[in-house]
Symmetry: D2
Subunit: 330 residues, 4 copies
């Protein structure tokens, strides 16, 4: 389904080469100041064409608020946001009308729906994340008023953690017609304790679902994550003192509920599947064919995933904040 | 919330030291053969007291079917399953009425609800997973009729992968009053392509949410997971041939939809937080105190998580199968 | 589906002649005093066998709280309530194993599920409402603490409104092996303005869905309802004064949101379809047959629907109260 | 909330005097032929300014498909539909910025949200139904391919059932600065038996909720509805013969599930609350004031509700069809 969240609920639509991409936010509290200037900077951060490290597709990605605000404030009505597509070179994609690109959704979507908008990946394109980022910007604005900050950063690319080195990895991959993956860390500071809903709406479960649902993400860990699997309990538990927890191995979540410490999450991002190096694949008729994916692709999607991952974490937290309000006020 | 799934939907209830633990399954297709014999073996696998490696709490965990079947077959009505608690030594827990156990949900649940059933962790106890396993057994039965098998295994404990060595790690930890974590792998064979619902109900997103929601799980990865973050695209993509995919780095999911290959997932399980080694913590009045968690605890929860993780994967797949039926028949 | 509500969410299970009937309440606020004594009186009001006007089935309908409370207070965990069936004379129903009773769900459930628990109507039995009433009792308790009272009454039976006359109608119908319908009015006093969620979760829409979902209900109207269709706007609008509304034609709801006035709803209840007068029908093999429905049936279900309708209205209001809390606190 | 349906799920947005009104359909089956020509005629039927009986606001209400189709067919991706507002005379509404119009949502929305877009009623305007009608047109197209037809008609206005007389009632009311209500009947032909989901998703419950949620609707009845409350069971039951049911007092629904007969529903529509006759009311400061609602209003909304009610019934049926597909294929 194309909706996410229970209370701060978003519904997303749009394809890479259709008229546009958009999102509806249902449940944003009323009387929040909101204008396009609160959203546009986040879209600009995920926008392509801004550096040699990213796709050269030129899109302004200008957002329009279609509903839900009055005189610069939210009203409690659904907020619809629309970004029109502009630089569509659908011709670039004629080859993939019939060929399944390895590592892409082409084959699986064809199997699921029996029909597929192949142009730029259609609905499975990374441009779908515009809706996430636009809605996330509103969530971030709401959270900011509650003293909660969400930030993300690239931790590693192709195994390199030094900024200069990882940039070099990306450029080398691009020149070789190849691509590279990496690790992103997202964290939230200022969360009150008590967020998250046992047993199937736990905060960590929601975060994991939210982040694993971003295209190219293949792993999620909270706090010390996989490292904690090789620990003793006596090493891994976070002792408590009068002033709070003495450490944060847990990443800010215990029993599925926030502790009040920083929430810390890392995601594994696979290398972009679109590479110009020739690959073996199949066409829709079942024939084996070779494919060299041309067009304007990112050699490394990791930096552009940062605002998307921030948006998803913010959406989860906004949702949990409103859920928890029921206990406070109910 | 205590419900999970959209179509094969379960709702769970019960506490460690209350009258019992149960689950309602809503949406199980009618005319499926079902009796307690289909469920009990799965509960027996997660049951405590069966080996020196596990908690010595003695529970038969006998399941009763309260509704939803008629003459040994499901009717389409909700299936309610109930397991009565038996061996409750609530006295063991008197100390933790006022002290927050490090690594446990005690502090966060108190903060969330302002009230807490401290006996054995109450609702945050591992006994909550009885509902998951019982419902999962029904999902496994349904999937089995569709040719889908779900299996899990322990991959590592405290960094050791050899069966003898990892057993020794558990016993050593137990003797030291400590605990150890580990890695579990769950996979599903026989899934048709097409399962999963973009963009927020992707198969991998649902799996991640389902597994991260199990107590003690701190990380989830699909296919090559975190390893893929250090790869080139040319290494990581799975080429296609006439007979299918030539490799399965993706773990059976592309673009959030199943490929038809094996679905492969790994989870990181933290060491059991209940250890008898003294730890520093706080009581509900804000005082710093020492705690040594006694009672009947598992020095390593990893083996007992296997049937729980299988259940959660099966529940996700059953849910997706029914969702996909709408496209087939709709 | 067998769940109802978003915030104060109930999930119901059980059949007329299975082991029992039950309900899980998920989302009840923590720290509410709750014991069986808060629930049992409501079950006693809907219980059969208490007067010559009702079915002679003897059921104690004793409720057990399986989870969700600790030391007499709710904890925020799901509250499971179970009523065991006792007086099951399944033999009474052998005839309807193969015959569809006119006016009953037999034919449609067979068509839907392809399988049917015919004993006493199985899941389609009026005993299903035990779950509604038990959960409604908890909602009523919660609402009572917020100053909201829900009450219901019989307005008419078979067109008669005088208490003595309507009782006589029921007895006459019983003696003739026939049955009669009637009208029930339910109202809520003390609701704050602001309850209900446009545009698809309007208060009146939820109430209508909740009440029309009770078996035998064929019509729902709010405020002046159908009478307002024959009015001028100048007659039907409720003017406002300093001290509030001058009239309540609207029944306490404007634009789908509560006004703060009494919420007033009426429902039309059809005559019980189980009558001993012979009727023409079909069996499951397609043959035309005659049926005379014996067993222990109510000649008029109207009085016993009152506590069910109160329960459903209370469940809607509790749900809306928690939803609205998000705006107050969010 | 602003979403409706589980499987054929719509999410609506937009205000009377904002940039536009729209809707997203999530869950429409793939490979359905769809273009604006399938939707526009339904919008034209509900459009104002087409006769002396309706509001004189001039709107083309041209629909744009923003997503979800490719080469004239649906793809399974969400279908976003947008209608831009054009003829906005916000100045007409300056008076109601501070005054609550009797019979309108002004007071309750102000109480709920603490903020209100007063221009033309904002989100509570009848223009909101554009989203319902646009989405309903897609549902009608889908149902049509399954052999199901949905139709509606005006049964009565101000108590008159003769077409000439009821038209005269409307014109008289208009000339008097007043308004009148009426009754609409909607029916569906060709539904298979088996639609609807006990016990809280019954077909009649969903229909009642769907129709009561349309602005101005104050009552809903299925089949013989309120009339059945004054009947004997022997009169009200529909006997069965070899060839089907001998009558349709039930209105096509038994036990919450469709029988395969025509589904017949009637709704009571209150007189439009906007009248130019002076009325007593209150302003947002609590003062008693007089109001005469000017602007371009319908003296009778009954005829324009017909396509809206058809749309809502079609949306319910499409949703139930997809739900039922799970049983057929699952």
């Amino acid at each position: 389904m194309n909706s996410f969240g229970r209370n701060f609920r978003i519904t997303s639509f749009g394809e890479s080469h259709g008229p546009g991409i958009g999102v509806i936010i249902d449940g944003c509290p009323p009387d929040l100041e909101l204008e396009t200037g609160d959203i546009q900077p986040f879209l600009d951060r995920r926008r392509p064409g801004t550096s040699p490290l990213t796709s050269q597709r030129k899109e302004k990605d200008s957002v329009e608020i279609l509903s839900g605000t009055f005189e610069g404030r939210t009203t409690g009505a659904p907020i619809a946001l629309l970004v029109r597509n502009q630089d569509q070179r659908s011709g670039d994609y004629e080859e993939i009308r019939e060929k399944f690109r390895p590592g892409h959704a082409d084959f699986t979507w064809q199997k699921k729906y029996g029909i597929r908008d192949h142009r730029g990946g259609g609905r499975s394109s990374g441009r779908e994340t515009i809706g996430r980022v636009a809605a996330g910007a509103v969530a971030i604005k709401y959270l900011s008023g509650k003293g909660i900050d969400v930030t993300g950063k690239v931790l590693a690319v192709h195994g390199k953690t030094d900024p200069d080195e990882l940039q070099q990895e990306i450029l080398s991959a691009r020149d070789a017609g190849d691509s590279v993956g990496g690790i992103v860390e997202i964290s939230a500071r200022g969360c009150p304790p008590g967020l998250g809903d046992p047993v199937f709406g736990k905060l960590d479960a929601r975060i994991a679902g939210a982040l694993m649902g971003i295209g190219a993400v293949k792993g999620v860990e909270i706090g010390d994550g996989f490292a904690s699997a090789a620990r003793f309990g006596s090493e891994n538990n976070d002792p408590m003192t009068k002033s709070g927890f003495a450490s944060n191995h847990a990443g800010g979540v215990l029993g599925g509920i926030s502790t009040g410490q920083d929430i810390v999450v890392r995601i594994a991002v696979k290398p972009t599947p679109s590479i110009s190096i020739p690959q073996q694949t199949r066409d829709i008729h079942g024939n084996e064919v070779e494919i060299s994916v041309r067009g304007r692709h990112d050699p490394c999607i990791v930096p552009r995933i940062v605002p998307v991952a921030e948006a998803m974490l913010a959406l989860v937290l906004a949702d949990c904040m409103l859920e928890q309000a029921k206990y406070t006020a109910g």
